[in-house]
């Protein structure tokens, strides 16, 4: 029942915040979010699952209750955790707390609703990672979109409505495509499946129980379903070429929301890919591994190149997420312990690091009110702590050793280089070049914004930016009072950075359980 308790806590918090007065909403939300955080860490510490949830592993915190029976199918409330979902749930709760703290400064309007939605989002995210019945899973999967839609569209930037609608419709269409694919499998399985229990389906599929459907043979059906589900999840990840909602959404979303969007929402896509495509249809994934790897590599390189061309700090980080998530796909397709485990680890790592970077950009934006690289310089002089965090985060993103970013990517490379599919080594080698490009754009951005003589451009409207240059010690104009960030802005940064380093130095904390859950995936796959 502890998973239900976790979800329930978040939902209750959401309700409480909706009725709470705006004045106390920030503090209340932060305080409340510590409850699920503490609970999830408690769960993490006492985690006792073994093996892969979908492949007959022993689950932790499992519950099954019958819900609806629909014709031949029964829908159950079935939740439980294994070594893949547990870290992701912890990630969700950690990032929620971080996001709430980093929202204190920028969110000044309808706070109670904002935090209420964030907690609702948290509940849905936990649900996505915990659900084991397809239907329950899908409910949470879709439920994530709604608060995100509001969060972007109400508290976002100037083009927030366009971005929100684009995000909303794009990802929903993707869900539908995926849905078709999955249901083709369900019906292909026919009477051998009496419920939408995903582990049961996964095992049936791997056991080769898939029949034909509407004259389409099992092999083709599998391939088509794989393609549909891949396409659906690829949008969420996002994989090039279905990534264009992401930069818009990121740029327009308020930074705390970007933290969650990049930190957890993208992981939903790869998580689903891992669970559906790469677990249920492992044989198809292996057959078309080279093609999938191609998508991954294109995402890595193309995403990085796009990031290189951007001027907006958030766009840079957004596109770099496309690049980083490409590594995850590459790792998944490798079917080695380091490949799949590394991909999962990279999900965690990227969640923390991108969250950190977005939060840093947010802190900078809060004081300068611009995110354009050209509009500011020398921020380090005024915001030393934030700058340090930004630098640390950026280097972690570049894969600096002793941060989780390095290990995530390194595991993936290690796992993929000697994978079985043709050209694995080449794909890996090309993908690795991403680490050079990522260094290029992040260093460039940091050099331009954080270093050099201090200056911030203002007055965008009246043609020509006016630069306010301050001397070394002299305070610049009153309207541009660049202050040091408040403690509550820095705390989430420090928290995330600490985790990044801890995971980078002691990856076994999570890689242990991940590996345990991944291992069954690699054996006895193809049905």
């Amino acid at each position: 029942m502890i998973v239900e308790l976790l979800i329930g806590l978040c939902l209750l918090g959401s309700v409480v915040l909706f009725v709470a007065p705006s004045r106390y909403a920030g503090r209340l939300a932060a305080g409340w979010s510590l409850l699920p955080l503490a609970l999830s860490l408690f769960m993490y510490a006492g985690f006792s699952g073994q093996g892969n949830a979908f492949l007959g592993g022993q689950l932790a915190y499992e519950t099954t209750v019958q819900w609806v029976s629909l014709g031949p199918y029964t829908l159950n409330w079935h939740v439980g955790l294994d070594g893949i979902s547990m870290p992701l749930i912890a990630l969700s709760t950690v990032l929620t707390t971080a996001a709430i703290l980093s929202a204190w400064t920028p969110i000044e309007d309808r706070e109670n609703q904002f935090y209420g939605l964030v907690l609702f989002l948290e509940a849905s995210l936990v649900g996505v990672f915990a659900a084991l019945d397809f239907f329950v899973w899908f409910v949470f999967w879709e439920a994530v979109l709604v608060p995100m839609y509001f969060l972007i569209a109400i508290w976002g930037g100037p083009r927030r409505k366009y971005a929100a609608i684009k995000f909303f419709v794009y990802t929903n269409v993707a869900s539908l495509v995926m849905f078709i694919g999955f249901f083709a499998l369900i019906f292909g399985l026919g009477d051998s499946i009496g419920s939408l229990d995903m582990p049961a389906i996964a095992q049936a599929l791997r056991a080769g129980e898939l029949g034909s459907l509407a004259g389409v043979g099992p092999a083709t059906l599998k391939t088509l379903a794989f393609a549909a589900m891949f396409a659906g999840f690829a949008v969420k990840v996002p994989v090039v070429p279905v990534h264009t909602w992401l930069p818009d959404a990121h740029v327009e979303a308020p930074t705390p929301v970007s933290v969650l969007l990049a930190g957890v929402l993208l992981k939903m896509g790869t998580y689903a890919l891992l669970r559906f495509n790469f677990t249920m249809l492992a044989d198809v994934a292996q057959r078309y591994a080279a093609i999938i790897a191609l998508f991954a590599v294109v995402s890595v390189i193309y995403g990085a190149l796009l990031a290189l061309a951007q001027q907006d700090l958030k766009r840079i980080v957004a596109y770099s997420s496309v690049s980083s998530m490409g590594y995850v796909i590459l790792g998944l397709v490798a079917y080695t312990v380091y490949g799949v485990g590394g991909a999962t680890f990279q999900m965690l790592s990227h969640g923390l690091i991108s969250g950190l970077l977005f939060a840093c950009v947010g802190v900078i934006y809060n004081t300068t009110h611009t995110r354009m690289v050209d509009d500011m310089s020398g921020m380090a002089a005024r915001m030393p702590v934030t700058t340090s965090m930004f630098v640390a985060g950026a280097f972690a993103y570049m894969g600096l050793p002793l941060t989780s970013g390095f290990l995530g990517e390194y595991f993936v490379f290690l796992g993929t280089f000697h994978a079985d599919f043709p050209g694995a080594a080449w794909f890996t080698a090309i993908a690795m070049f991403g680490i050079v490009i990522v260094a290029g754009y992040l260093l460039y951005a940091m050099q331009r914004t954080l270093f050099g003589p201090f200056g911030v451009a203002t007055d965008h409207g009246d043609g020509g930016a006016v630069r306010t240059d301050g001397g070394e010690d002299a305070d610049s104009g009153a309207e541009h009072d660049i202050k040091r960030a408040a403690a509550h802005d820095v705390v989430p940064l420090a928290m995330l950075l600490a985790l990044v380093i801890v995971l980078g130095v002691a990856p076994e904390i999570s890689f242990g359980m991940i590996r345990d859950a991944v291992a069954p995936l690699l054996t006895g796959g193809a049905g």
Binding site: H243, Y302, V436, A439, L450
Partner: protein
Amino acid sequence: MVATITAFAFEVAPAIAILPLASFVIALFAGKYLPKRGALAGIAATGGSLLLSLWVALTVAGGATYNEEIYSLVTTPNTFDLHFGLLLDPLSALMLVIVSLVSFLVHLFSLGYMNDEGEAGLPRYYAGLGLFSFSMLAFVFADNLFMSFVFFELVGLCSWLLIGHWYREDAPPSAAKKAFLVTRFGDYFFLVGVVAIFATFGTTVFAGPESFPTLAEEALAGSGGAGGGAGGLSTFGFGPGAWFTILGFLVLGGVIGKSAQFPLHTWLPDAMEGPTPVSALIHAATMVAAGVYLVARMYGFYALSPTTLAVIAFVGGFTALFAASMAVVKRDIKQVLAYSTISQYGYMMLGLGAGGYVAAVFHLMTHAFFKALLFLGAGAVIIAMHHRQDMWEMGGLKERLPIPYYAFLSGSLALAGIFPFAGFWSKDEILFEALVHGIGGSPLLLGGYLMGLTAVVFTGFYTFRMVLLTFHGEPRTHTARNPHDLGWSVKTPLAVLGILAATAGFVNMVPVGTILGLERIELLHGWLDHGISGLTVEHYGELTHDFAGYTTGALAGSEVLTVLLSAGISLALALAGAGLAWMLYSGPNPEAHTERLGDVRTLLMNNYYQDEYQVWIAETFGTGVARLSDRFDQSIVDGAVNGVSEVSLLSGDRIRRIQTGIVSNYATLLTLGLVVLLLTVGLAGGWFL
């Protein structure tokens, strides 16, 4: 021999690296509350490291070695094992001493260079130094390539932090970025190499029977002519020899980047934007040395591949010459030193490529001392000159700064390779190795030798041009007439290093040894020839001989003659270069002669347009392609997405126009619809048949 008894020194050896790490943490978090803003912690830490290193070296000298895993990052059954470990053998022990010594002296010097000058951001500076020392020391005692890579990268981070120390100005952050990016480009190949070595051998440890050089050696030895996957190793479709060569090249990419070899040397001169003690640290003992050290560390692997060795030698030789030529025309004292660094590391690469493992390590050691000395000396001059660095604004500092002058002179003599200073012995040995192996059947090496030899002239020239312009003649500016005072913290390191620069060469007097037949005099050779089997000079010699086909030749069949000739020629050329400088730049008011070089000068001043073409490449293939991608993404990819929605809305708009508002039309459409329905169903049901 593998040590059977683990000495206590080895138990505490991790502290060699941990101590600077602790000083990093202290400086970072508590630096601003400490008296010297973290300097004292750093000095204490590196001093401790130095003592421990010496202790370790003594233990190693006693014949003990250490090769153990100390921290397991990931323990994964049935697949690769990522761990940190300690490999303490003569090579790493030597390097530990060098690194901790230089680092200690740099910390000390910084008291004068940074604290006394009232610089801001000192805690950050000392934190950076501490982290730098930590990374480099950990890199040195790494027992596997993975760990090497980890700390290799951290070294890169530290260089970024320190080069960009004065971040409020425009140039330092830019230089820092460049340094990191260019080396990162090299590290990319290194990374591929590490991963590929993992994938091939399943391990990256350097030493022991299960180490990858040993496995590679066995694979090559066992693969006779059968080809294909040797000894159960996956060689990715290549023959084992070819594949090992590729692996070697990949790792070499990182080396070329970090050790600033052509064509990835461009970051190094820019890195002079950092504080001068940092330059000393980077160039003498840490970052740049890391590349060469890495090749030496896995020499057992490189020795298996003649192609790789030849390329290393050739790149090294070319870099030595190429960089030396650019140093000739520089006005900035630190720029001269920067190019000389590139050049000297070129020599080391030449030595390694030519089979002169000992020679290269020897030069690595002597260079560490005299280049640290030169940089610190330059730093002293810069302090004295109130942070001016143009040599044409100096002059006549000899009388006003005696201790720096003599120390600097000692370093310069060593750099120029003048007998009997340290540089002479080591450089000569490298050239000698190249020569003998060149004669002995690898004529390619002779090319490297010739380039190295030519570079000797340039080295002698620019070194003494620098000394003359800086210290001799009449002061050319007001500042030069009234230099700043120097404190003990500046002078002490200079004195120590000055002595070392003069004497360090005596540890391996090969010519003397050969001529006099005193093998025992080649101390370094003996030092490097004991320790873990497979990592000894003797073994490397066998490998280069067996696999790369290096044989020792001699001029006119006489080894003594060859030695003498080689030493004589290089000394003569060095003196010639120095003499030319003396001719041109001695006297109270030397003139600038560079104008006479004409177009060549422009070429040299612009560093052969290396930066320009690299920037051009970066902009075209980086930014340019990025811009194109961005445009493509905005218009085509996103355009398609928006297009779908627009088409939907447009068709929606068309569809709703059916609803004209005129009820007669509705009736018509309704009737038509019904008729169509009737026809369809009728046709399907066969009513009309």
